[in-house]
Symmetry: C2
Subunit: 407 residues, 2 copies
């Protein structure tokens, strides 16, 4: 039966992820028994997450708390929203009322809910170029047109943002929204400077735009002192936060949140129950107990985070040793290093060759870009591979690099 | 700050649930310390769910399986899809390949994903009248126009369906889709007869329509022998299934599924990762172990289900005793009885008075209706209240009923 005629018009806006090919090939090789080193992941290390502790909590809450197997309120269990408000105050400079927090299906679910309330087909969303591929795809599914602003080591080139807005407005396009990951950006690994954060807020105010701040990596900071989220600098209510515990508890629990107010909060709340009912109760109770018992401090800040920092150091050192002249970012937060082949080189074919010849999986940068640039970029992840795998992977990458492009 | 101007046009289609008022009032009374008996729930009994067993599984998988804290494939972990295919074959007459199953955020998430792929603004969706309120709201958020077909004790009045389709087509409306809950319908509690199931499929074929079959209550069957889902009778591939383990494991795990094929499956898959990434890994592993270990038979068929049947019997007996002349449905599946006040009476004000005066919470039926009928309907739930609460609740309902309307 041909189902094409039944599809909604908006199904045309659904695009596949260009990363799927790489991942499919990797999985086929693994099925054949080929041993691969993966620098391609997008999540934290399950060996650094206190899984046994979470298991104990899960057992306890499932046994003792009937609500742990039931629907929760659509915006999340009140105790978790309260605990989260206290957590965000203590660890992320945010003074938020629990009433303004909506617990979502991970950060992904938060972004989709916001997109559905805010984006009309044809609306322009300005993002960093490159930006997180799933957000680009989710917003495109809603009919958004994505326009990117280049990124350097200090984050979005806010100096180019105003030009971009003017240019779009001159063309009669409707710009409503800026989406940014200021801290530990995916895929660049860079963190926006304080100066640019302030400038970004000023421009948003001048042009009356909303900002969606994706704080996914705010709890994966290794240095740079206290980094203040845009939301904490926002006096006008222009910043809506999409946050997540995925990088702390693990991505599989699907616990994220929206911080919003007014009509946006109201519409998000009304919209939510009919489309996902609530975030998983068991995950919400695990998150609640984890935060309440002070495990963020004990197992994350004094545990996992040190492990990620060590792995980042190992990756950067290996890159510096083997490829002292190559260009790559030096993250102070997050879990990615963006590595650049020489200008004009093709990251996709390099990634394929690296996997086939050397057994090292990396993610080409191109699909994260909003235009044709970034062809030579390769995203490297340091949170998931082991400390032993990272230098081997980088050495093999360097070998292929030198063979193709010289020192 | 006034956020109204930033809202997308589609935000106008987001409506609040008319049930929210009742629930809010109930929660306010409870906060004041008023003890209420609730016949208003929409989920199974957490005391009949083997929570300690699920807790043991959770502890085990979190400790031993690193993948239990990580992203899963967007369509779900392969082992669960395989186990589910075997489960559906054994307990629901379905021969489905694991490749055609997509694990979703509960049945709610399944319905929203399908709506997003299939419904264009202005498209007509035909449903039972009344039907599940969250589906009505979710589809309306996508711009659907809902048209209802009346329901009697044998389910959707399929004899009226064809007229309805002709009438809509004559008005130039685009009918694409029928949404039905054939077994243990919410809110009516009725089950579609085999004869009507066949007739429904014939009409869908004649008018080239798709059917979304919501199988939420297929594992809450108390009598009526083997009830065969539409999907198992479907030779043309017209039926898409939205299923869930919510009524077995508990609603809080958020494990549902879509069964689809061809372009619809392809678009659902492409769409899914950017908008929710995956169903919760921990819930997927709990579901996997629950099914694999034969716990469905042990704890559900030979456990919880007997409890729900007993509670159903208690509710029906109490209604028959106290209100022998009143009209109400007699469910052979699901968890609801629809109770009707005399023609012309107002269910919403009756529900309010019942809560305030007698401390019994029920859900007015009106919000489930697609038109102005059903003003006198009251939805009663028997799965959640205890065996002791049900006869007390019904007795109090009967007292108010008699006071207002006589015997």
């Amino acid at each position: 039966m041909d189902y094409t005629k039944y599809l909604a018009g908006r199904a045309n806006w659904i695009k596949g992820s260009a990363l799927a090919d790489v991942m499919k090939k990797a999985s086929e090789l693994q099925k054949k028994g080929v041993k691969l080193i993966s620098l391609a992941a997008g999540d934290p290390d399950p060996e650094l997450i206190p899984r046994a502790v979470l298991g104990e909590i899960a057992k306890e809450v499932l046994e003792k708390e009937p609500k742990s197997v039931m629907y929760t309120p659509a915006n999340g269990i009140p105790e978790l929203r309260e605990e989260l408000a206290a957590f965000l105050k203590k660890y992320d400079h945010l003074e938020v009322s629990p009433e303004n927090i909506v617990i979502t299906i991970g950060g992904t679910g938060a972004l989709d809910l916001l997109g559905r309330v805010l984006i009309d087909p044809g609306d322009v969303v300005i993002t960093e170029n490159p930006s997180y591929i799933n957000t680009l795809l989710a917003f495109e599914q809603l009919g958004a047109k994505i326009e990117g602003v280049p990124v350097d080591n200090d984050g979005m080139r806010v100096d180019l943002l105003e030009e971009k807005i003017k240019e779009l407005k001159a063309k009669g396009q409707k710009v409503k929204l800026i989406y940014t990951i200021p801290t530990g950006q995916n895929p660049m690994g860079v963190t926006m400077s304080m100066e640019r954060r302030k400038a970004l807020l000023e421009i948003a105010s001048k042009y009356d735009l909303l900002i969606i701040e994706d704080t996914a990596y705010n709890f994966m900071r290794y240095e740079g002192g206290d980094i203040v989220p845009l939301k904490a600098l926002d006096n006008e209510g222009r910043v809506i936060v999409a946050g997540t515990l995925s990088k702390v508890l693990g991505t599989g629990f699907r616990i994220g949140w929206i911080i919003a107010e007014g009509e946006i909060l109201k519409k998000v709340l009304m919209q939510k129950q009919p489309i996902d009912f609530c975030a998983p109760a068991i995950s919400q109770y695990i998150a609640l107990e984890y935060l309440k018992r002070g495990y963020f401090e004990k197992y994350h800040l004094e545990g996992a985070l040190l492990g990620y920092k060590e792995k980042r150091d190992i990756m950067l050192k290996a890159l510096e040793n083997h490829l002292p002249n190559a260009e790559f970012t030096k993250p102070i937060a997050g879990m990615f290093v963006m590595f650049f082949l020489p200008e004009g080189a093709d990251g996709i074919s390099f990634a394929n060759e690296l996997m086939e010849r050397e057994g090292v999986v990396v993610v080409p940068g191109k699909p994260f870009y909003t235009d044709e640039s970034g062809k030579n970029a390769i995203r490297l992840n340091f949170s998931r591979p082991s400390k032993e795998e990272i230098p081997i992977g980088i050495k093999k990458l360097a070998k292929l690099y030198k063979e193709k492009f010289g020192e």
